[in-house]
């Protein structure tokens, strides 16, 4: 069919466009910062490093200092931004579909409060300070908290038979309240100003912790989850129709829903552990893309993931340059950019959750 072919063509062109934009943005991302390094030189250093010296490196201009800044600090950071954007958009898109609720975001299963509790615990009770060991400990505890919360929510909504979306959302809210209370309890009792600042800072999200040691794990989890969900587009589409209609189309959602939620939770947990809470990306990016291309996951899912990556890389760039001397926590920025963007689409397009 002509119309369908045209649709596919547009889709592939936009994927290509996104890829090019993302590569350029990564280049921008490594060039911009407190020490400004010329764009061409940044690209030369990057391509040199990436191709093992075959291309670009060895130019007289590139000093060792620049190389270190780019390779050890900025590049991992930009990559983390990229992966975080991909992962959060993916998790958000999947959560919205899985709980059949357009208000869902990656943190809906109590993951945010679980991770916060883990982080609070680590900062206030466990490992104060800023040593590398403490940072690793923090990530570990945040991940543990996130995944524990998600599993408790799943367990709770599984009581009395089938998991359905209302039970999930309610269980998520209840555990959210409980975990937040625990966090506040710890903070209140500890009465530690420095610690409170650390917790607050952590909750606002940051990509500053990016390093080559933690990146591979994030990359593997994000890419594996992405590939997995790409194979599930038919079931994800059917999931939007609800349990009964899905059965008549030959799919028992109960099983798939659990699998998807577990995978999305682990994905979100890994990201939260590395970046803290970065809000809004996982909610609005899927919404915006749904608003433009509709709910067919064949197009919707990859485009969400690509635009999430792009959005995050640019949020990171702005967070580094928007204030002259300090870096803005990225969680603040994603909401600052995201909310008006969302309002615009909401008002402008007469948005109907993906028509």
């Amino acid at each position: 069919m002509n119309r369908i072919q045209k649709q596919r063509q547009i889709y592939y062109i936009s994927l290509l466009l996104f890829t090019v934009l993302i590569i350029l943005s990564v280049g921008m991302g490594v060039a911009v910062g407190q020490v400004s390094i010329p764009l061409t030189e940044s690209f030369q250093i990057l391509t040199g490093k990436l191709t093992g010296g075959a291309m670009g490196e060895g130019t007289a201009l590139s000093s060792v200092a620049f190389e270190n800044i780019i390779w050890q600090i900025r590049f991992p950071r930009v990559l983390l931004a990229l992966l975080t954007g991909m992962g959060l958009s993916l998790a958000g898109a999947v959560m919205q579909t899985t709980v059949q609720n357009p208000l869902a975001d990656p943190y809906i299963l109590g993951i945010s409060s679980g991770a916060s509790l883990g982080a609070t615990f680590a900062i206030m009770i466990g490992f104060g300070g800023t040593s590398i060991l403490a940072q690793l400990g923090l990530s570990f505890w945040a991940f543990l908290g996130a995944v524990t919360a998600a599993f408790l929510v799943l367990l709770l909504s599984n009581v009395g038979g089938q998991v359905n979306s209302i039970k999930l959302v309610l269980a998520g809210m209840v555990l959210n309240a409980l975990f937040t209370a625990f966090s506040n309890f710890i903070i209140y009792l500890a009465n530690d100003a420095e610690g409170i600042r650390s917790v607050t800072f952590w909750m606002m999200g940051s990509l500053a912790g990016a390093s080559w040691t933690t990146l591979p794990l994030v990359a593997i989890v994000v890419l594996a989850a992405f590939l997995f969900f790409l194979t599930q587009q038919r079931i994800l589409n059917i999931m939007l129709l609800g349990d009964e209609a899905a059965i008549t189309l030959g799919v028992n959602l109960n099983f798939y829903r659990k699998v998807y939620l577990v995978i999305a939770s682990i994905l979100t947990g890994i990201i939260v552990a590395n970046t803290g809470m970065i809000g809004f990306v996982g909610l609005i990016i899927p919404h915006i893309i749904r608003g433009i291309v509709g709910s067919n996951h064949r197009y919707f899912l990859p485009l969400s993931v690509f635009s999430g990556a792009l959005f995050m890389v640019w949020s990171d760039i702005f967070s580094r340059i928007i204030l002259p001397t300090v870096e803005l926590p990225i969680g603040i920025l994603t909401s600052l950019i995201g909310a008006p963007l969302f309002i615009y689409i909401f008002v402008k397009k007469g948005y109907e959750f993906g028509g």
């Binding site: 069919m1 357009p102 079931i235 939007l240 059965i247 008549t248 030959g250 509709g294 067919n296």
Partner: protein, 252 residues
């Protein structure tokens, strides 16, 4: 394909909903199921399309036992028009119809030209041209119902289950939906509320009350004043419609 329901009972939360139901739909037959609200019609249909598991009894479609078929295998044989059109996310009508191809597709398999051709065929057959590019959420209840029947036809089923298919429809589309179903060369089992339409379109009727079958037979046999009184607790008079030659019911 023929459907046989044998001695099926089902209870939900220890409340007996249907009890010892047996019915039969033979090849090409359009069989109706009538009865008051809450008599267990929907529950019976749900156990036929495997949304509910009966406590006892056996349901077979030709030679295969429905309970033992996978959901996917069943969806290839049986199309369902249910009463669940509540969706929170939007699809275009074409996309909605295309979802009917899902049971025939592997996980990674793409929609082929053949799939699109089947969808277009159903759009023609069901008179959906005007709706095809609209969004499903913007449709009226009756239009949604027609799209759902369209989706069931896209499944290319050999058997059709319909739960009050004419709900929300104006008279033109009530007749058109029933005509469509009637003309299909497959068996169909439909729960129906409109007794006159049931009399006009079905080949055989089962009357259900409080989870039991109380009567079965041709529409003329089942739609008698006494049975209708027993079922719905209303008085009526039945007569042969001089125009259609079918049984008609006038409520008093």
């Amino acid at each position: 394909m023929k459907l046989t329901v044998e001695n099926v009972s089902l209870s939900i939360a220890s409340k007996q909903i249907i009890q010892d139901i047996s019915l039969h739909v033979s090849q090409n037959q359009f069989v109706g199921l009538i009865g008051p609200n809450g008599c267990g019609k929907s529950t019976l249909l749900k156990s036929v399309y495997k949304a509910l598991e009966p406590d006892t009894g056996i349901i077979t479609l030709d030679d295969s036992i429905v309970q033992e078929l996978s959901n996917k295998a069943l969806a290839k044989k049986m199309g369902v028009v249910g009463q669940f059109h509540q969706v929170n996310f939007d699809f275009s009508v074409r996309q909605m119809l295309l979802l009917g191809r899902s049971p025939h597709k592997g996980l990674m398999e793409r929609d082929t030209a053949k799939d699109f051709a089947i969808v277009e065929e159903v759009i023609q057959q069901m008179d959906l041209e005007e709706l095809a590019d609209r969004s499903f959420l913007s449709l009226s209840g009756g239009e949604k119902q027609r799209v759902i029947l369209g989706r069931a036809l896209v499944q290319q089923p050999q058997f059709l289950v319909l739960d009050e298919p004419t709900n929300h429809l104006d008279i033109k589309h009530q007749l058109s939906i029933l005509n469509t179903v009637k003309q299909l060369p497959i068996g169909a089992l439909a729960a129906m509320h409109d007794l006159n339409l049931a009399a006009r379109y079905t080949d055989y009727l089962y009357a259900m009350k409080d989870g039991h079958l109380i009567k079965e037979g041709t529409p003329d046999e089942v739609l008698t004043e006494s049975t209708i009184k027993e079922l719905y607790e209303v008085d009526c008079q039945t007569y042969t419609n001089p125009v259609t030659g079918k049984r008609n019911i006038e409520f008093l």
